[in-house]
Point group: C2
Chain length 187, copies 2
């Protein structure tokens, strides 16, 4: 057990995050165990602590990564607000581990500087998307309310889908269902 694996893993931080995503997808963030991650990565039980300090440190890193991935997914969706919303749902479905951690601030250090900037960057993206379509008369107030409405409907759909709370007829293709539902907001 001692031999051919090099002492310095070289990429352990990244591997641990990847393995954490796997584990969370299998059993949820509550069941996450640092020692289990170490086992999957093939390192000693204390190795994760070196890179992340403690469990919440690891989840903090995951949350930051999540907000960055989400911003990226939203940017890739283009200028159509409807498609940005669909991309939000798509992100939640494809990166459910990240998503579940991001909006569970009791699991990590939500007040950490890196988290706040990552989250703020993503939020600004959403607001500007809403502002682009809210050409109504009373600008600012409308944008605020419309942002809240758009974010709520998209986030709610994603959350309910992940929780398995939706009736089976919405389950097949979440992105298609989401498109219908979000469209309802613009009708």
């Amino acid at each position: 057990m001692t031999s051919n694996r090099p002492y310095h893993h070289g990429d352990l931080r990244r591997v641990l995050l990847a393995v954490a995503v796997e584990a969370i997808e299998e059993a949820g963030p509550a069941a996450l165990s640092l020692r289990e991650l170490a086992r999957r990565a093939g390192v000693s039980h204390a190795a994760p602590a070196h890179h992340f300090g403690d469990k919440s440190g690891l989840l903090t890193a995951l949350a930051v990564e999540g907000f960055e991935l989400l911003a990226q997914a939203m940017r890739a969706a283009g200028d159509d607000l409807l498609e940005v919303g669909v991309a939000y749902v798509g992100f939640a479905v494809r990166h459910r581990a990240h998503f579940e951690v991001m909006f569970r601030p009791d699991l990590y250090r939500a007040d950490a500087e890196e988290v706040r900037t990552a989250r703020e960057r993503t939020g600004a993206l959403l607001r500007s998307g809403v502002a682009a379509v809210s050409g109504g008369p009373d600008g600012a107030g409308d944008v605020r309310r419309n942002t809240l409405a758009a974010w709520s409907i998209v986030h709610g759909f994603a959350t309910l889908w992940l929780a398995g709370a939706l009736p089976p007829d919405a389950g097949g293709d979440p992105q298609a269902s989401a498109r219908e539902v979000i469209g309802r907001l613009f009708a």
Copy 2:
């Protein structure tokens, strides 16, 4: 430490649930410890297991109670769908511990019979509320989509508020903000 407390607590099950709500409100469901609950209730560390089997058993009971309380709150809101939505948000805010557990199926036995019936009862209430206002032409399809949209926006708002993800200007009175946002869906 041995004396005046009676051996049979008499109401332990209910007390444990109440104490669990307190603990979850303080530190989130992830940090919940059965032994800590026992300490707060003034009983031995194994007493909770007798009533709930294990941790997920306790959370299952909490979830069932939560779905019942939610149904009750929605019924009390009357026939106006907007007010039902506001009541949904109000429930989430006032019973955040229940709410947070209810939609985290990895924490409890979501497939338990009691859970499924309680959840189904609540879902039916929502659907009938939506059906009452969806007087449109193609009945069933519209009701399905409108239910999903209404539930999503309300659930999303509640979830984001609980996660502390909303910008501060939405924080003051969540129910008032929710009313604005939900109104946006009917405009």
